[in-house]
């Protein structure tokens, strides 16, 4: 992995200012994504994966706010762009696919209409051009009989086909980064596999970088080039797919791996639940659930420690296999 870095997130903090207090949904995270790379963000529900994605697109809604950090794409800090320029980045340079394909399409327009609408949002082209491009896109994402199905409504499609349509819309302007927020979670296992294949194919074809958000380590092991493990709004461990999965260092990553059925069929769950983010535990945010917690874990926030050039961990036990 030596290709150029396309998108770089530095010290991003997104907080939600609720009446009960400040929720640190994303708390000081940094990671890079390279050209043509599939980066998986892994974590349980509520670990800040989706907020990270929405922050990159600057779509965090009130009471949420991006407090500080940099999101650098093509030497521009996205957080400093004018709203108008940011609107141009969305769809054109970074696009996003959402979790539930059933609600991600407008029920009252045909799918062809919606794909060509996505095209004409950025390119000024006439209706026929847009519609022929839309048909091509639908073929590209594997909608059979794209020309005939162009005039069908979303409710006439299965979940997997709808997700293909949503992906076609995201591809409309050939973005350089595609953020996919659990795009296969709402689908059948067999359809999931097809959608994963589609992402791999798109990456190979367009050299697109994909940020793939999931909680499914099985999916991660299949497609990830690099992995970011998130817990309670912070990054626990990040690095190349082989490093993180083959040599997990952080107790949380190990815990996640323990949740996969082993060869003997044994599942070892992580005890406890994710902490409330309004009054998070002091020190390492994972220490209440950590079997190896030391005194220092309760006092200080562990820094990102380098293990190899591509592998970092936020743990005082870094590198110590305990």
């Amino acid at each position: 992995m030596t290709s150029e870095i396309i998108l770089s997130i530095e010290n991003l903090k997104t907080y939600f200012f609720t009446k009960k207090g400040i929720v640190r949904a994303v708390d000081n995270i940094s990671f890079d994504i390279r050209k043509g790379e599939i980066l998986c963000i892994v974590g349980e529900s509520g670990s800040g994966k989706t907020v990270t994605a929405l922050s990159i697109l600057r779509l965090v809604e009130s009471p949420g706010k991006i407090i500080e950090g940099k999101i650098i794409l093509d030497e521009d800090n996205l957080l400093e762009l004018s709203p108008h320029k940011m609107q141009d980045v969305r769809g054109n340079k970074i696009a996003m696919v959402f979790q539930d394909p059933h609600s991600a399409l407008n029920p009252i327009f045909t799918i062809g209409d919606q794909v060509s609408e996505a095209i004409s949002a950025h390119k000024s082209c006439n209706k026929e051009d847009a519609s022929s491009q839309a048909t091509q896109l639908l073929e590209l994402v594997g909608i059979p009989l794209a020309k005939e199905r162009y005039h069908d409504y979303p409710h006439q499609f299965s979940g997997g086909m709808k997700q293909r349509v949503v992906i076609a819309m995201a591809l409309a302007c050939h973005p350089r980064v595609l953020i996919a927020d659990e795009p296969a979670t709402a689908l059948d296992l067999t359809v999931q596999a097809q959608i994963l294949d589609l992402f791999l194919e798109l990456r190979a074809r367009f050299e697109m970088s994909i940020i793939y958000i999931t909680h499914d380590l099985g999916v991660v092991s299949e497609i990830a080039d690099s992995i970011v493990v998130m817990y309670a709004g912070r990054i626990m461990e990040k690095g190349g797919s082989r490093d993180v999965l083959g040599n997990p260092v952080h107790p949380y990553t190990k815990g996640l791996m323990g949740c996969l059925p082993s060869e003997k069929g044994i599942i070892i769950p992580i005890p406890g639940t994710i902490p409330g983010l309004i009054n998070p535990p002091a020190g390492c945010i994972f220490h209440p659930r950590c079997v190896n917690a030391l005194d220092i874990c309760r006092m200080e926030r562990p820094p990102m420690t380098k293990i190899t050039d591509e592998h970092y961990v936020s743990c005082f036990l870094g590198g110590v296999n305990g």
């Binding site: 969305r90 769809g91 949002a121 949503v166």
Partner: protein
């Protein structure tokens, strides 16, 4: 439009709605082509005053030169004036047709204006939220507190009573219901995934409003519009009835107003526009309710 065909199919199952629609179509056609076949509604002919409709007869006192005083004669309806004439001998059929034009014009234009204003205020209030929402909705609340008819009377009293002004003032005061409806629907729509997804693909606010939000509220808007047309028609009739209508046009309210003085001698002058108003209003209500059922996804297909 496959969707339109689908909803029409559902509407067909509703008999009252179809009856309402049929009457409205009949009324529109009559208003459009009727004036080419009838005499002018303003043509005065005192020798034919207070003629009853066909099939009716009435006793009328008439000045007779022979007797040198009033005599009572029994008048019968004639085919020349199938619905009778008023106190100046003007043909009531052509007056009613002219009145249909006025009522439909007022109903459609005033409601159209109210819907456009209400939809824009409602959708921007909900979409932009925050301070914009507070200001727009408090303004709507203030508008609602004014008694509708009194406000109309005030406007007409201050600025005169041309038909255009009446339409304008009904439209400018009648948008509050639409604004609230569209706002509430938009509030739930704007958090739907397809709106957020569209934002994530770089759609502008206008594009989201006109492509995603408004089209998804259109079924409610159509129902509300159909149900508010009678209100606008009745408002114009009420204004005309109390003498604040446009004196230049023969609207149903004007005829009613003129007929109330002659109720004993010529009951038909007031009754006929009343019947027309009744059927028009009830037809729009039937149609509106039929549309509401047709658009209701929970409604039975049959």
């Amino acid at each position: 439009m496959k969707l339109a065909a689908y909803y029409l199919e559902r509407l067909k199952g509703n008999k009252t709605a179809i009856i309402g629609l049929a009457f409205i179509i009949f009324l529109v056609l009559t208003a459009l082509i009727g004036p080419f076949f009838t005499v002018s509604p303003t043509q005065v002919n005192f020798s034919e005053k207070n003629l009853p409709p066909i099939g009716f007869s009435s006793e009328q006192s008439e000045y007779s030169a022979k007797v040198g005083g009033l005599v009572m004669t029994n008048m019968h309806g004639t085919w020349k004036h199938p619905l009778g004439t008023d106190g100046m001998g003007r043909d009531l059929l052509s007056q009613l047709i002219s009145g249909a034009r006025v009522s439909l014009l007022v109903g459609l234009l005033a409601t159209g204006l109210a819907i456009v204003i209400g939809a824009i205020i409602g959708v921007s209030s909900a979409y932009f939220g925050g301070i914009a929402d507070s200001i727009l909705m408090r303004f709507t609340d203030i508008m609602i507190t004014f008694p509708f008819l009194l406000l109309l009377i005030l406007i007409v009293y201050m600025f005169g009573s041309s038909l255009a002004l009446i339409i304008l003032s009904i439209g400018l005061t009648g948008w509050t219901g639409t604004a609230r409806l569209v706002r509430s629907e938009t509030l739930s729509l704007r958090t739907r995934d397809f709106v957020i997804a569209s934002k994530a693909l770089g759609a502008s606010d206008l594009r989201i409003i006109f492509y995603h939000l408004l089209p998804n509220t259109i079924s409610s808007i159509i129902v509300l519009a159909t149900l508010s047309i009678p209100g606008a028609i009745l408002a114009e009739a009420a204004l005309s009835f109390i003498g604040l209508g446009d004196p230049q046009v023969a609207s149903w309210g004007n005829i009613l107003n003129a007929g109330q003085n002659d109720l004993q001698a010529a009951w038909w002058i007031a009754v006929e526009p009343g019947i027309m108003l009744f059927f028009t209003v009830i037809s729009f209500n039937f149609l509106g309710e039929g549309l509401r059922d047709a658009f209701d996804p929970k409604g039975d297909y049959n």
